[in-house]
């Protein structure tokens, strides 16, 4: 088809702006001026320059609003402003994977045997404690360092935190469940 034949209708600025705005909102991908013309404005006689002016006008309209019209490599698209990302993150909550056995054992040892060094935890568990485990528990604010042990290397001592108690609805550590009695594992 001859595009000149199709592009015959006039369109006023108000209608053009509505149409461009709608097109940018419903398109699956960023729209360039060319794509806008080809896919949404094929029936109208409208210059690239005019489309560009309309886009600039729309960009101005959305300054300081909940969405903004940005230029990316392949064209224009509506995006949320960077400042809102943190607040919007709530919608896309993702469940973190369940804690591994290693994390739970490390946490248990810190809770029941605090203050305790990483070396002591490794001694009891019989395997190395990765930095990731300590980081995970620290990031969660469940453990904290409470000093250093006066042994060679001055290793850091770990203890549980108030947040740890709060999470498990405990008022103090002695509310932690009693462990099995000594006889149970003396054999």
């Amino acid at each position: 088809m001859n595009p000149d034949k199709i592009r015959h209708k006039d369109i006023d600025d108000a209608k053009l702006k509505r149409l461009v705005e709608a097109a940018l909102f419903i398109a699956e991908k960023p729209l360039s001026v060319q794509l806008l013309k080809r896919d949404f404005l094929i029936e109208y006689r409208v210059s690239n320059l005019r489309i560009r002016d309309i886009i600039i006008a729309i960009q101005a309209d959305y300054k300081g609003r909940g969405v903004e019209l940005n230029k990316v490599a392949s064209g224009y698209r509506f995006q949320t402003p960077a400042e809102l990302s943190e607040d919007l993150a709530h919608l896309y909550k993702e469940k973190a994977p369940k804690y591994s056995r290693a994390i739970l054992e490390t946490l248990a040892l810190i809770a029941y045997k605090q203050p305790i060094t990483r070396g002591e935890i490794e001694d009891i568990r019989g395997v190395a404690v990765s930095s990731n485990i300590i980081k995970t528990l620290s990031d969660r604010n469940w453990i904290k360092t409470v000093g250093q042990k006066e042994v060679p290397g001055r290793p850091v001592l770990y203890a549980s935190t108030q947040e740890f108690l709060d999470y498990f609805s405990l008022t103090s550590l002695d509310q932690l469940p009693a462990l099995m009695s000594m006889e149970d594992f003396s054999g």
Partner: protein
């Protein structure tokens, strides 16, 4: 369309049909074909079987076919002329049979209903008991009920729809967007079971004397260490008496005292007394 095919009411050309067509014996009103003009079929018109199939498939069942015939002839649905309607209906059914269309059972059931109503109407008036009423009433009711739904379906089809009439605005998230990760949930029982796991694995664990009673002491030990760690760099110590909280009572004092003893035993703190009977100061061990 595919739903139509699976519908048991469908009328389909029988497979391997060798009929090349059919010469129609009588005038039949024909349907709108895909919205195109009504085909008023001359008597000798040859209708290709495919076209017939399309026409007959337009009917959703016997009620739909009857409604079509009634509307086409501008009959009053409330005063249904059973005789001509039955004749025309039967002509359609015969036509479907003639070209070996697989006829849904419902069409034959309707044919017998029409025949029965017709025969009852032919009975002398006095033979029909008063309270039996109009034999057409039930059929008329069904036709009305169906027409209401047929029209409602057409109305629904014309409602503005997503992706046809309305389009949802979509907006991308900013490049710096990071989804919030929910912390994993831990059960207190899991924690205890983790520790039991260690105990079972570690024979040497008997030395560790983990008991409920010692926990308050261990907690206090951590508190004291934390307090000393956070102490002023210029005065990196605590007065011994400051470690006790009178409000906790005797048992609290005992726990604190045990904690201090345990900390000294493990060389985690030091106690210094600068003068006789002077205040005892507790501090972290001097760095080597």
């Amino acid at each position: 369309m595919s739903e139509n095919r699976a519908n048991s009411s469908k009328v389909t050309l029988a497979e391997n049909s060798t009929d090349s067509g059919v010469m129609l014996q009588q005038v039949l009103p024909f349907a709108l074909l895909r919205g195109e003009a009504i085909v008023e079929k001359p008597q000798d018109l040859f209708i290709p079987p495919d076209a017939l199939e399309v026409i007959l498939e337009m009917f959703e069942g016997p009620l739909d076919l009857l409604l079509y015939l009634i509307r086409k002839q501008k009959f009053d649905i409330l005063d249904l002329p059973i005789s001509p309607i039955t004749t025309q209906y039967m002509a359609y059914v015969d036509l479907m049979k003639d070209i070996k269309l697989e006829l849904a059972a419902e069409y034959l059931v309707m044919a017998s209903i029409l025949a029965e109503i017709k025969s009852r109407l032919l009975l002398p008036k006095q033979a029909v008991e008063e309270d039996e009423g109009d034999p057409r009433a039930e059929l008329v009711r069904k036709l009305q009920e169906y027409e209401v739904i047929k029209k409602a379906a057409e109305n629904i089809d014309e409602l503005p729809r997503l992706d046809r009439d309305n389009f949802i605005a979509k907006v991308e998230l900013a490049e710096n967007f990071v989804p919030k990760i929910l912390n994993s949930q831990v059960d207190l029982a899991e924690l205890v079971s983790a520790l039991h796991g260690i105990i079972k694995r570690t024979k040497a664990y008997e030395h560790h004397h983990i008991q409920k009673e010692s926990l308050s002491t261990r907690e206090r030990m951590a508190h004291i260490l934390a307090k000393l760690k956070n102490a002023d760099k210029k005065q990196p110590y605590c007065d011994f008496s400051d470690l006790f909280t009178i409000k906790e009572g005797k048992s609290g004092v005992v726990v604190t005292f045990l904690a201090i003893l345990e900390l000294i035993k493990e060389s985690l703190i030091e106690c210094v007394q600068t003068k006789v009977y002077g205040e005892i100061r507790v501090c972290l061990p001097k760095q080597v």
